[in-house]
Subunit: 105 residues, 2 copies
């Protein structure tokens, strides 16, 4: 009800919006929850989430750019992992919270 409102910078809003948006896609979220179990190569991830290698690879690229996962090579495979404990924490929190609010939505 004021004349000048608090507002985060547009850049800031875009950044957190982007973060939420990346987390908000079903396929990416499945990938992330699968990776909570530990490092995994692309083939196994795509089996675990039941999607094509290509689709998974495209989404992994998005997760990489958003710094939510990181990659390393092991033999012939690219091994993906949750980028850091911070991401793991957010996922855990969201899962916990959702368990508390089963009636909502």
């Amino acid at each position: 009800m004021k004349n000048n409102l608090f507002a985060p910078s547009q850049e800031q809003t875009e950044r957190i919006g982007n973060f939420f948006r990346v987390m908000g896609d079903p396929t990416r979220l499945k990938i992330l929850t699968v990776l909570l179990n530990g490092k995994m190569c692309v083939m196994h991830i795509s089996q675990a989430v039941g999607m094509s290698q290509s689709a998974v690879s495209h989404q992994l690229a998005i997760l990489r750019r958003a710094n939510l996962v990181c990659v390393s090579r092991s033999g012939k495979s690219q091994v993906y992992a949750i980028a850091d404990e911070h991401v793991r924490l957010i996922l855990d929190m969201a899962l916990l919270h959702s368990a508390e609010h089963e009636e909502e939505l």
Copy 2:
């Protein structure tokens, strides 16, 4: 690297995915940050975010269904507000975090 993976229930994944997705839209995020300033009616919100009344109303409906905002009537106006402190907290945390990581993304 195991045979049976930890996996949240599909319902759980959908719920948190939905939460993140709702937060991830630029218009909705603008609306929410505007509402951090306090309760506001639809007309004022649409002025504050610079979008049509209809577009804002559609997005408010989504925010309502996701329990991120709540409504009450005041005279002829519907007054919207952040649903609870929990939502406020998440927004604050995300804004803080984004300020700390300006170089990422």
